[in-house]
Symmetry: C2
């Protein structure tokens, strides 16, 4: 069963959906396995068939990930998107605020590392001298 002639441009198979959303077909199947993205139908030969809404959902997942949301947070956001009338803004805002705080903490932590590393780097000669007195190594050996 072919589908391109029946619904030109409106339905597609997995590769095309993957291409449009900027992910691999493998990943699309994985998202289906974890319940994020189910094809709207199947062909007679059991091929997955996606429509425009599925493309929007796939792109939604992509953007959500780019914003730093995990797949399970993305699932929560998708639940809101898929049944908007049963959800309120406060829910989406809550998820977003929690993530903002989480990311701020991650940034803080990385900055601390960055400061430590920059100090370590600054003190090390970095030359062909023996590591016997390397300041990086000795700093890691004990509190100073």
């Amino acid at each position: 069963m072919h589908l391109l002639n029946d619904n030109l441009g409106t339905v597609m198979r997995i590769s095309e959906l993957a291409r449009r959303a900027g992910m691999s077909a493998h990943t699309v199947r994985y998202y289906e396995k974890v319940g994020l993205l189910t094809p709207s139908q199947r062909t007679e030969s059991n091929y997955r068939v996606y429509n425009k809404d599925d493309v929007i959902t796939a792109e939604f997942i992509k953007r959500s990930k780019e914003c730093g949301f995990s797949l399970s947070e993305t699932a929560s956001l998708l639940a809101i998107k898929n049944d908007k009338s049963q959800h309120v803004c406060a829910e989406a805002k809550q998820i977003t605020q929690t993530k903002i705080i989480e990311i701020a903490a991650q940034i803080e932590n990385l900055k601390k590392m960055q400061n430590t590393l920059t100090e370590l780097e600054a003190f090390c000669c970095g030359g062909q001298e023996s590591a016997e007195f390397c300041s990086i190594i000795s700093s890691l050996e004990q509190e100073t």
Copy 2:
């Protein structure tokens, strides 16, 4: 065979080492499995026995992790520490510089996410209104 009376304070078993280095005994065994931290000896009953050098090594691993180094990078640093005369400062500095660049990239990425999320958050009313027109959800649905 007991050991505390023989070498008071200088040798210890796994729990004590773990306590001093601020990690679990499980983790210490895991570090041994991946080749990072081998006990200097064993008792007759096959208990692991650690000495002061092992404590330094354990703390080294802990600090290295706190600086953001992976276990495999930590292994490289430990190799330098354990045979300093055969290594030069340049090696330690190289590892450090690479990590600094890596962390800087991570921070950049998180900041981008933070900006996006902050914008999303600012536009959302966050109230008990239906999510029908939620700006967070609709932003994720399509490029605007």
